[in-house]
């Protein structure tokens, strides 16, 4: 197994120790350990059913761990619930897109400002400060995020009416509204044409720099992953079979056999 050792300059932000998840007799994630460094773009690839999305679901507490521990900025987070994980600064998008379909694009993004709104029920309903100021500030921030993903002219449109690629971008805007430190992107390029994919790559680098993010990305489009990621982890049948820089992963025989094929 190829692995690069983190340099002194890089600090671990998320550490996974022997993560395991069983569904009855099926071991979906099998003893997976890795470390993600701050500000890196960390790729997660592997064949369908390898356990990549399950891994995301474990990190964001949508499902519980069968065993293992998750450490985020020095804190053990595997016992927390998903909304608590979000409040610590881990945001995500979903493989199957889980927008609030009946709501407009703007409303979808504003909802994600929930954690950054401090007004209580009483001040909110009665319209007392700081509620009105927070409302307009959140609205402003939401519009900025929509503009960043190129959807601001359709802010009032129902999100279920958007094209697939636009829905994916809207989900990213929504996740960014949490002001996270780690952003988990689950197949963000699915359904995009080649030029959109290229734009996405640039976009991800931009938001990483602009918002000081650490990004973990699941993707099937190998050229995108190779060009974008600082390091890549490869899963197969729930096990981590390789971890390292793109150049190393590209030539790893185990990875080629399991996933990349002979190019």
């Amino acid at each position: 197994m190829s692995q690069t050792i983190a340099t002194d300059k890089q600090q671990a932000i998320l550490t996974a120790n022997s993560l395991t998840r069983r569904f009855g007799g099926l071991v979906a994630v099998n003893n997976v350990s890795f470390t993600v460094n701050q500000h890196e773009i960390f790729g997660l690839i592997g064949p369908n059913g390898a356990g990549k999305t399950t891994l995301f679901n474990l990190i964001t507490a949508l499902i519980p761990l069968s065993s293992g521990e998750l450490i985020y900025k020095g804190q053990e987070i595997s016992q927390l619930r998903s909304h608590q994980i979000a409040s610590l600064g881990i945001a995500r998008t979903f493989q199957n897109i889980r927008l609030f379909g009946e709501l407009s694009a703007l409303e979808n993004v504003i909802i994600a400002r929930h954690l950054h709104t401090n007004s209580s029920i009483v001040t909110g309903v009665l319209g007392l400060p700081p509620a009105p100021q927070e409302e307009s500030k959140n609205r402003q921030k939401a519009l900025e995020l929509l503009e960043m993903v190129g959807l601001s002219d359709r802010a009032a449109e129902k999100s279920r009416n958007f094209a697939y690629g636009d829905q994916r971008r809207l989900e990213i805007a929504r996740a960014l509204a949490l002001e996270p430190q780690i952003l988990l992107l689950d197949e963000p390029a699915a359904g995009m044409n080649p030029s959109e994919k290229a734009q996405l790559s640039d976009f991800i680098r931009n938001i990483r720099d602009r918002f000081n993010l650490t990004i973990i990305i699941i993707e099937h489009h190998v050229p995108l992953v190779m060009g974008l990621c600082d390091r890549i982890a490869v899963l197969d049948f729930g096990q981590l079979i390789a971890l390292g820089e793109p150049s190393v992963i590209r030539n790893d025989p185990a990875v080629i056999e399991a996933y990349l094929g002979n190019e």
């Binding site: 409040s87 945001a91 979903f94 929930h114 709104t117 949490l178």
Partner: protein, 313 residues
């Protein structure tokens, strides 16, 4: 005018109370929870007012003092709220139809308890509940402000953080959690607020109806309130208000229609007594042809669009 009010005063107050009961069911529905528990808290609030006004607050003066009525409403609200939290936390772990069943069971448990307790008057219930007003229509002094304040609060609720949290949970509870919204907290909150409202309405109704017994809090009532919300409009609070008023008046309208004559006997009988069948049919027809109910949020947007047009001209 005076004759109109003396004939229809009682109905008008009932319509206002019906709107409020619709709202009490609409609250958990905003968070995507189908709770049929309102009649239970309604009955509870009524019993609290009935018991207090015939024992502890017993008064020999002509009219029951209004400040005591308000105090009863406060107590009913607080007790309903506490019970709401106690029931809500375990019950709201259930989803969809199972939650609905649990709330039906809750209403039934309260009903059977009230039938068998001495303090609630057993099967006979409590009667001769003192009146704070000379005429029925004067109950509007309490009911109407209650409705108007509730409507303002609902209007605001739908536009701020807590209302958005409810909506997010209703749309996709898992995604809402991933966005930092605590689903359990907000579901219990919606449920409890609905309970408090139903309890307060119960307290007023006990005085309004003069007697209170186990028949006030039954499963039938849940279906009626559900009709208010589903047909009136399940996506905005106005739907429950309109639905509550229209469908409280409907049986009386049907009875008036039957009495005007010209109908065969069986049809007149059906119009008069078949109210539950009619409501059931309305729910079925409504969910097929008007899934969002009659009053939809589009109405607000149409109003806004028209205003914008006018301004731009």
């Amino acid at each position: 005018m005076a004759e109109f009010f003396s004939t229809y005063g009682s109905l008008i107050v009932s319509m206002v109370l019906g709107a409020l009961l619709g709202l009490s069911l609409y609250l958990p529905l905003m968070a995507g929870q189908l709770s049929l528990a309102s009649p239970g808290f309604y009955a509870l609030g009524g019993y609290i007012a009935a018991i207090l006004s015939t024992t502890v607050f017993k008064n020999n003066s002509d009219l029951f003092p209004i400040h005591l009525l308000l105090l009863e409403m406060l107590i009913a609200g607080v007790v309903s709220g506490l019970l709401g939290i106690a029931i809500g936390i375990p019950a709201l772990r259930l989803r969809g139809i199972y939650l609905a069943i649990a709330t039906i069971a809750f209403v039934e448990v309260l009903r059977v308890l009230s039938l068998n307790w001495e303090i609630t008057g057993g099967a006979v219930g409590i009667f001769a509940i003192p009146q704070p007003f000379q005429t029925q229509i004067e109950y509007l002094w309490v009911a109407l402000p209650l409705l108007l304040i509730s409507m303002v609060l609902f209007y605001r609720l739908e536009r701020v953080r807590i209302g958005r949290a409810f909506t997010a949970i209703r749309e996709d509870e898992l995604a809402a959690g991933a966005m930092g919204i605590n689903p359990t907290y907000y579901k219990v909150l919606a449920f409890t607020l609905g309970a408090i409202l139903a309890g307060i309405v119960g307290a007023v109704s006990a005085h309004f109806l003069n007697t209170w017994n186990a028949r006030q809090g039954t499963f039938d009532a849940s279906i009626i309130y559900l009709t208010f919300v589903l047909i009136g409009g399940s996506r905005t609070f106005l739907g429950s208000v309109v639905g509550g008023m229209v469908f409280t008046a409907l049986p009386e309208v049907l009875r008036g229609l039957a009495d005007t004559g010209g109908f065969p006997v069986w049809l007149a009988q059906f119009l008069r007594d078949g109210r539950l069948i009619i409501f059931g049919l309305l729910i079925v027809i409504g969910t097929i042809f008007f899934p969002q109910g009659l009053i939809t949020p589009e109405i607000f947007r149409v109003g806004k669009a028209k205003n914008r047009e006018r301004r731009e001209q």
